[in-house]
């Protein structure tokens, strides 16, 4: 499988400046889409490519775009671009924002043409101070060059890109939480239906796409859906940005085809486990996704293979844990996160995240009972499929995932009345 990059510039370089980006072939795809393709043709090409969203859910991007109304309706349409990258273990969109911001702008221009949007709003997480500044500068440059704004690219269309900052709430990465936040409110997710394509930003039709998802679009337009489908697997097409962190020699972001094995990513690209230690556990797609054990490391990193392995691709944020790592402590860190980030709207989530955290703390302290393991499963069960958004499900999957995959270690905490891995990291 050929591994050719089209998202990230060569290591150690960036394509921040407009000239540099253009010299690398930038904005040719946007020019072609605007001048030589109808919106329907762009949507069809992206649909044919099989591109699936890179924000976690993996929904078909072209299909999502078809939910938008035809132009000429009573309300303007918008794109809300999700740069609220907050899923622990995930730091890939930042690579695009910091090193290739014009690629995102070009993708938004093409997407805007496809769905007939008046403008795109990029919602950047508040802590991403440098990425926000770099993207803002690139937008100013693109406007000055006539690539954004009134009659952009010399067409009769107007299209602009605006950036806004979040303020530290993970829930704003949920698409309707982000829309609420972009309207200047608490980021509490909305009930659906109506979906954003009908009732999104300011009550107008809105398509919500992740940064990386949009960044794939120029290559699809430039080289075609058939080329794109030669990368990856039949149902998980294209490259993706895998972020690798934790106990590896070379943590970082690696652009590789979907379907690359987890072991290749960890041992070849990330240099293997640190300090010559043995692998114990891996979270494959951000901490919302159930953990895998070392025995499962040959799994291919695509939607279908990971589902078969009992977990999900999520954001492709891979967290590697070595043999010294206590799984209850890892579960505590994740449970603490969800307890902090629940927006509080739904009882199951608000109460359940706190329960899971307390139960895990008690087990780690050596004060747990065997019945507590059953309670974790029961609480997780109450939290799944009951709430307005998927944060509750994610919190449940994460906790029950650790318990199911490493049950013996949880039981050892209860039986020994202390943590059997005292040398483990501190949560």
């Amino acid at each position: 499988m050929a591994s050719e990059r089209y998202l990230l510039p060569p290591d150690g370089t960036d394509w921040r400046g407009l000239e540099t980006f253009r010299n690398a072939g930038g904005y040719a795809a946007a020019a072609r889409a605007l001048r030589a393709m109808t919106p329907e043709q762009v949507v069809d090409e992206v649909k044919a490519s099989g591109l699936r969203g890179r924000g976690g859910a993996g929904f078909g991007t072209g299909q999502k775009w078809t939910f938008m109304p035809k132009p000429g309706g009573p309300k303007p349409s918008y794109i809300a671009c999700n740069a609220d990258e907050s899923e622990p273990g995930t730091f890939k969109d930042r690579q695009i924002l910091e090193r290739n911001p014009h690629l995102l702008i070009e993708g938004l221009i093409i997407a805007g043409h496809a769905v007939g949007a008046r403008a795109a709003y990029v919602y950047v997480r508040g802590e991403y101070v440098a990425p926000f500044r770099i993207l803002s500068e690139a937008i100013v440059e693109a406007r000055a060059a006539g690539l954004l704004g009134r009659r952009h690219f010399g067409t009769d269309r107007d299209f602009d890109v605006h950036v806004m900052r979040g303020a530290g709430a993970y829930i704003c990465g949920e698409e309707t939480g982000m829309i609420e936040s972009a309207e200047g409110k608490k980021g509490q997710p909305r009930k659906r239906p109506p979906f954003p394509a009908v009732y999104g930003l300011w009550g107008c039709p809105t398509t919500v796409n992740n940064v990386e998802t949009i960044a794939h679009v120029p290559a699809i337009v430039r080289r075609g859906a058939e080329w794109f489908k030669t990368i990856g697997t039949s149902t998980s097409t294209g490259n993706t940005l895998f972020g690798v962190s934790g106990h590896v020699v070379r943590p970082g972001v690696y652009e590789l085809p979907l379907g690359t094995t987890l072991s290749e990513i960890i041992y070849q690209h990330a240099g293997g486990v640190r300090d010559g230690r043995a692998l114990k556990a891996v979270i494959p797609g951000g901490v919302s996704m159930p953990v895998l054990s070392a025995e499962q490391v040959d799994v291919r990193m695509d939607h279908e293979s990971l589902r078969q392995a009992g977990t999900l691709l999520g954001t492709g944020g891979i967290v590697v844990m070595d043999e010294t790592t206590c799984m209850v402590r890892a579960a505590i860190v994740v449970a603490r996160f969800f307890r902090h980030e629940t927006c509080g709207q739904c009882t199951q989530c608000r109460e359940g995240t706190a329960w899971l955290y307390k139960l895990l703390r008690r087990i780690e302290a050596g004060a747990g009972e065997h019945a507590d393991l059953g309670t974790i499963e029961a609480v997780g069960g109450y939290m799944e499929g009951q709430t307005i958004c998927a944060l509750s499900d994610a919190a449940a999957w994460a906790a029950t995932g650790f318990l199911r995959r490493f049950r013996a270690e949880f039981e050892a905490h209860v039986d020994g009345r202390r943590c059997p891995l005292p040398g483990s990291f501190e949560p």
Partner: protein, 163 residues
């Protein structure tokens, strides 16, 4: 400088910047999060008096501003240290030693995590994932770019970078 001094009103520059920000959106309320960042950059926190001023500029009720200030972790309704030090304690950073970094900073900076030093120089906070897991441990001071690849055994460097 007295600790209890009344918060200064927003400067003309910040007021103008907030009004300019509203131009990006069909509804002025959408400028609220950006407006609060501007206020905090100027005052160091977002006191109630400033919230009322922002509400007036954007045509909102003060409670509509306050519910946003208190919902989002990055806004401070009360003063923090002049150097507000935030250490990521989520999984990538925890596995790489963020707990030891927090303990070391408590000692070096003379402030407990979650608190503000009496002279107002520093406050220390444990935060959720900053999106820098590949360059853990990650620390952010005020609203500045990240300090990355922090190591518990190289705290001298970190304290110098914090300033």
């Amino acid at each position: 400088m007295s600790e209890e001094r009344a918060a200064p009103l927003l400067s003309a520059a910040v007021r103008e910047a907030i009004v300019a920000e509203t131009g990006k959106y069909p509804e002025p309320r959408s400028a609220l999060l950006m407006a609060l960042h501007m206020v905090q950059a100027e005052l160091g926190y977002v006191p109630l008096a400033a919230q009322r001023e922002v509400a007036a500029i954007l045509g909102l009720r003060p409670i509509e501003v306050r519910e946003v200030v208190t919902f989002y972790p990055m806004y401070h309704e009360h003063p923090v240290g002049r150097r507000h030090v935030q250490v990521c304690a989520n999984l990538g950073c925890a596995l790489t030693g963020s707990r030891a970094v927090i303990r070391g900073l408590e000692e070096r900076l003379g402030v407990r995590c979650g608190e503000r030093r009496a002279d107002g120089a520093y406050s220390l906070e444990e935060v959720q994932c900053l999106g820098s897991c590949g360059t853990a441990v990650c620390v952010q001071v005020n609203n500045e770019p990240f300090i990355e690849n922090v190591r518990p055994d190289r705290l001298d460097e970190l304290v110098k970078a914090i300033g």
